[in-house]
């Protein structure tokens, strides 16, 4: 195995790069920098799990937080809807997997590209009062080659649809086979004159890059893939980074500070190792890819007299403009077995409502796909089925309903926009600390009225689709009072050309610290339509390319 040839860098000697976080962005960053010949130390706070470690153990994963550590693992977070509220301690608010590959290890793999409009929407639609709705400093054309790199190097299955943005190369893998919920969705959508098409997914439908295709086991979203068919950075990038011989992966390494020198350059990354000992890795440059909650926390923790409001925060934008993406779900029952609990989460998507008509009086847009209402999990379904479909919640009637409903149900889910607002943010909690003594992540969040109106619109459209599909016992949900947590953690160190209103430039270099780069969900300027990881990965390939070019020019 490649790991036998792993380098071991001395902490007191400078490496070229320390990459903090090995997730969707960090895994790509480590691979791209290391294969370009740079020495890289990749720090990951969780373990290096692989396919043999993954199970169908719903109790461990969903009910004991095996991958998504929370308060019970020594990682509490706090939440409040507004600054005037007291933040309440929660098991978790901003959710993410703690392991090599980060949340790409267990994601649903919905890999819609953003469209050209996403990068210039403020210009086209106009700015929105009270928000930081803005254009990106890059265009779809700038990012397209890197989307294609994700398709081919990470591994995406799909088919160019009528609504898809232009692409320079076909998908490497054919679309995944359609599932029951999506047959129902597709037929309903066509009856309403809409244009459903195969959902692009980061799951292999056929062998690609030495990995096997999906076996349709059904334990997908929230679970690690036992077949290496899910295209995580864990399976697609980390092995290449390690095989380069230039990357040392240090697991169970929890970073608590980035040190800077008198010139304002990053010099060393301080972390706790697996045994809880303080370590410091000296480095020529730092690439922070810790996610949209952890990245701002670490910048705040790295404050100094030179950077009193947190590292790279002269704009005051670190931690701000947090965007979750909105969400709605509509469920129904059908006469024949749907069996949505098999195979992958979603195989069709409706993108006719990517941009809602501005005459509606609010801003928003999104997509709708077909799924199993509880990700196909039996325990989760059995807990919630009476609240979805009505009926008894215990006793023989409950048991009989449950036996029928698990295989005869479908969900149509809406995935929608969130507006960037300064009042939605990540800060350090003044009262609660994690097991390392670091201040807990405090999340302040209330969806914008337009975001809630958008969720409601998608909920109602999904009900219409569910009725057209012939569903009965139709029910559902959207966060009419605002979301109180999510796993999409976007916008908290936004990209921009103006150092007064953004944290990083178009090439992911912080405006304030020349050898500090940030790349993860925090880089996004706007939220897209609910499936951000494809874009996070494309940004990571592009950022790595820009960093490698800068290194070539000796401009780090």
């Amino acid at each position: 195995m490649a790991e036998a040839a792993l380098p071991s860098f001395a902490t007191r000697e400078e490496v070229d790069f320390v990459v903090i976080g090995s997730g969707a962005a960090g895994g790509i960053m480590a691979k791209e920098l290391a294969t370009a010949g740079h020495s890289v130390v990749l720090l990951e706070q969780g373990p290096h799990l692989t396919a043999v470690d993954f199970t169908h153990d719903e109790w461990a994963i969903d009910h004991n937080g095996e991958h998504m550590w929370g308060a019970s693992h020594g990682h509490p977070q706090t939440f409040r809807k507004s600054e005037s509220d007291d933040a309440e301690e929660r098991e978790t608010v901003c959710g993410y997997a703690h392991n090599v590959g980060g949340s790409s290890m267990h994601f649903s793999g919905n890999f819609w590209r953003f469209r050209p409009i996403d990068f210039m929407e403020a210009s086209v639609r106009g700015t929105i009062a009270g928000t930081n709705f803005a254009d990106w400093p890059i265009s779809y054309e700038d990012l397209e080659p890197y989307y294609t790199k994700v398709d081919w190097e990470i591994g995406v299955s799909g088919l160019q649809g009528s609504w898809d943005p232009p692409r320079s190369r076909e998908y490497p893998c054919a679309p995944m086979p359609i599932k029951g919920p999506d047959v129902l969705l597709e037929r309903a959508a066509k009856s309403l004159g809409l244009n459903p098409y195969p959902a692009p997914v980061a799951i292999l439908s056929e062998p690609h890059n030495g990995r096997p295709p999906c076996a349709h086991c059904g334990y997908c979203n929230g679970f690690g893939c036992e077949f290496n068919a899910k295209s995580s950075s864990l399976v697609a990038m980390i092995p290449l980074a390690l095989e380069s011989g230039n990357c040392e992966l240090r697991t169970y390494s929890t970073v608590y500070r980035i040190e800077t020198n008198a010139e304002g350059r990053a010099t060393e990354v301080l972390y706790y190792d697996a045994d809880g000992n303080e370590q410091g890795q000296r480095t020529r440059a730092v690439v922070l890819c810790a996610n949209g909650a952890e990245t701002p926390r670490l910048l705040f923790l790295s404050e100094s007299s030179r950077f009193p409001d947190g590292l790279a925060n002269s704009s005051g934008m670190v931690g701000k403009n947090l965007m979750f993406n909105g969400y709605s779900t509509t469920v129904g029952l059908f006469d024949e077995p749907v069996n949505g609990w098999k195979s992958i989460p979603a195989t069709r998507v409706i993108h006719d409502f990517y941009e809602l008509d501005s005459s509606l009086g609010f801003y928003g847009g999104g997509g709708i796909d077909g799924r199993h209402p509880s990700r196909g999990t039996p325990l989760g379904f059995a807990l919630s089925s009476p609240f979805m479909f009505g009926g008894a919640s215990w006793g023989s009637d409950y048991k009989r309903d449950l036996a029928y409903q698990f295989s005869h149900c479908a969900a149509f889910d809406g995935h929608t926009t969130s507006l960037p607002q300064e009042s939605n943010n990540i800060t350090l909690d003044p009262n609660v600390q994690d097991k390392w003594g670091r201040p807990a992540i405090r999340c302040t969040y209330m969806d914008h009225p337009d975001d809630i109106a958008t969720m409601r619109w998608f909920y109602e459209k999904s009900v219409e689709l569910m009725e057209a599909a012939g569903g009965t016992n139709i029910g559902g949900f959207y966060a009419e009072d605002g979301q109180e947590g999510n796993v999409h953690l976007l916008g908290t160190c936004r990209m921009g050309t103006d150092p007064a209103t953004s944290v990083i430039d178009a090439n992911h270099r912080t405006h304030d610290v020349p050898n500090l780069f940030l790349c993860d969900g925090s880089s996004l300027v706007t939220s897209g339509r609910g499936q951000p990881t494809m874009t996070i990965m494309a940004l990571a390939f592009r950022a790595a390319d820009m960093i490698n070019q800068a290194a070539e020019r000796n401009e780090i």
Partner: protein, 214 residues
């Protein structure tokens, strides 16, 4: 999405209403409690769990007929009786056959569920008080099932009942290594076959779709 947490406590009991009704507004709130949001301040959140280790012991304990590790015989008899009304044994096996009580004994022994166990014991005492006052009997498990159901209907909105419901369902549908779901009874109940791989068509609608060449 927050859908990754379908497990949170059900602090509200389901409101009885017609299945045929298109209950958009109502079920939204219940649905959120049931599958999407964190329910604050309930028993379950206090307990919210905690990695389990050494779960195989429970399975071994059950199969060997060993004594309970965490619960007293009396507590186990009471909780097993409540579980048996939540997922009853009727034309198909229920919580009793699934070994739910062994799952409960196992997971309640986790040190991070100390508070949950204490709350459950309080709830048990309250239930037994009600058994005594309403039926002049000492233990829930000694009541006939009609009276058991009658009593549970009175307490079905309490955190105690919702916690026992949660543990009963978890014990029925979690992997057998935790002590319940004996012989895959839970999966069989809902027609879910646990296989490492499937091939399309997965269900009736996609089979029809393939057949028609859509």
């Amino acid at each position: 999405m927050s859908k990754l947490y379908p497990n949170e406590a059900l602090t509200e009991a389901p409101e009885k209403e017609s299945n045929s009704e298109l209950n958009r507004a109502l079920s939204r709130r219940q649905f959120m409690a049931g599958s999407a949001s964190l329910a604050r301040g309930s028993l379950l959140v206090l307990s919210m769990p905690a990695i389990l280790t050494a779960c195989r012991e429970a399975e071994e304990a059950r199969s060997s007929g060993a004594a309970f590790q965490t619960l007293s015989e009396q507590e186990a008899a009471e909780l097993a009786a409540v579980a048996a009304r939540i997922i009853p044994t009727d034309e198909t096996p229920g919580a009793t056959e699934a070994g739910v009580i062994y799952f409960m004994d196992n997971v309640l022994g986790d040190e991070r569920r100390v508070e949950l166990l204490a709350s459950l014991r309080d709830g048990l005492r309250e239930m037994q008080y009600q058994v005594a006052t309403d039926y002049s009997e000492s233990y829930f498990h000694l009541l006939d099932v009609a009276r058991q159901d009658e009593l549970l209907a009175k307490i079905e909105t309490t955190p105690f009942f919702n916690t026992v419901r949660y543990l009963t369902i978890a014990g029925t549908f979690s992997m057998p290594q935790y002590g319940g779901n004996r012989d895959g009874i839970g999966m069989q109940l809902i027609g879910m076959e646990s296989r490492p791989a499937w091939a399309p068509p997965f269900g009736a609608y996609d089979a029809d779709y393939m057949e028609r060449g859509e």
